[in-house]
Symmetry: C2
């Protein structure tokens, strides 16, 4: 691997709109790495917190413009801000299809959707952590009309803060996150409510399995509701699959769930040509593009696991 040339793709500036947990962490991580990063937030306290971490606070955005705002604010977040004509627009939203359709109406193929699979039940600039993305998977959308050069710019930002990039289509992403994120939020809510129905004794005895099973529903309910409603179709389908499993005999259900939860996953390095179908096949196989960007200049992704 050391035979590959040093990266020659210049790292573009990054502008982050929304400096809460995700956006603030991204801006802070880039600033800590010495990258030029501009940030903006409607909340002065979030702006001040980001400025203290070395983020330039301004309303003129350039390079890779990252929308790190709640889903309902996605289409209006750039109102009143200046965006350079060649900037690439990406976002960190938890649902991709509806967001890309809405942003595409205004920004066309300058939009590349993204979704880092991290963050906690906490939110806001007080929850900023520059290490938040280290080792996380970050879905970056490769639609039929996505410009590969713009996709690479967004992928590079994700890799720069320690994430691994999963090439996906928006539709595939939305089906997948319904199963592994949106449905877990609904299950957590139903588990919490049913335990409350069972009464104070049940809540008084609640321990580890209840705490784990309900953790994510401590998230901001407005955020969770916007997420599941924006991805209603895939979430309903994924929930139906869960319900079907709950209808099976318990010994088989327990054995099958245990096998999935304790599966051994290995990592192997493969080479993939830098073109859409091959990149998407990496994501579909459960893999990701890792940090060695050197091969981009060769037309190859050297490390895919």
């Amino acid at each position: 691997m050391t035979a590959f040339p040093v990266p020659t793709m210049p790292a573009p500036p990054v502008s982050v709109v929304g400096l809460g947990q995700l956006g603030g962490s991204l801006a802070a991580a880039l600033a800590a790495a010495g990258r030029p990063v501009t940030g903006w937030d409607v909340d002065a306290a979030a702006r001040d917190a980001a400025a203290a971490r070395g983020v330039r606070i301004a309303q003129d955005l350039d390079g890779v413009v990252v929308l790190a705002v709640p889903l309902p604010a996605m289409t209006t977040a750039l109102d009143g801000l200046t965006v350079t004509p060649d900037a690439t627009i990406t976002d960190l939203g938890s649902v991709k299809g509806p967001v890309l359709r809405a942003l595409g109406e205004r920004w066309g193929t300058r939009v590349v959707g993204g979704h880092p699979m991290c963050g906690t039940e906490r939110s806001g600039h007080a929850a900023v952590d520059p290490a938040l993305f280290t080792g996380a998977r970050w879905a970056v959308c490769l639609e039929e009309d996505t410009e590969l050069a713009r996709w690479l710019r967004v992928a590079e930002v994700a890799l720069a803060v320690g994430a691994e990039v999963v090439p996906v289509t928006a539709a595939e992403h939305d089906d997948a996150v319904a199963a592994i994120s949106h449905v877990p939020h609904l299950l957590a809510a139903a588990l919490a409510e049913a335990a409350a129905d069972a009464g104070p004794l049940a809540l008084g005895l609640a321990a580890g399995s209840f705490a784990s099973g309900t953790r994510v529903i401590a998230s901001d309910p407005a955020f969770v509701t916007a997420m599941v409603e924006a991805n209603a179709g895939p979430t309903a389908a994924a929930l139906a699959r869960v319900l079907a499993h709950l209808d099976r005999p318990w010994p088989a259900l327990v054995a099958g769930g245990h096998a999935v939860a304790t599966r051994q996953t290995g990592r192997r390095e493969v080479r993939v040509p830098l073109e859409r179908a091959a990149l998407l096949s990496v994501g579909r196989a459960g893999g990701a593009i890792t940090r060695r960007l050197a091969a981009f200049v060769e037309g190859w992704m050297p490390e895919v696991v």
Copy 2:
């Protein structure tokens, strides 16, 4: 509180049968506190590990005899062992009704059921942790025919290792743990299996909400299956309540679940007379008996929260 007399109830010896995660942790915690503790396990490696922590390994059991074995082994765990005639028998099983009925046939009112609400998805003597019970709730059964003196002996053991004692009936316990422990195991299994159905991309994007939602199903599947099948009725009822919540509109479900998961719980100290109905009312209110045993000699529980 300092006006209460120093405890005068002599601490009885404790004998632990089964030296895996729960039994081994209990024996180790008692030994570390300088209490005489005897242990036994059919597995020589578990015996050796306990002996290394100061536990006397022997087959003659005395005082409070704790059955810390899997549910299917509960009625045979004492076969071939010697139990003194006045010993009190308790257990750490995750289901109480069936266990108490089975043990009662042989041991009558010498049995007091118990269930510490701790332990992790790990098991066996390698998972022993003397601090496992610190701050945990420990249900101790007060049936109509329970001898209060024996109940106190079992409660004292729980308090001695840092737990808080929740007085319950077996039936109340089984309904409560169905809601906060047994159903979470089934939900975790169904969530894991449904994510596997969604494919490698979904598992490749899985992050915090999936990890939390499926953690408990990493537990030994034989243990989980025995638990849910031994508590089938209450578990099915609790699962039905979860399913009913999942059928509600998502915004209401999310808001309600969030309210339960983030509820603020305070602690207040109350005094409760040392009699069954009053003690049970503490558990039903979500409270527990805490460590200051001094008041036992006064006929009062000074600290109940």
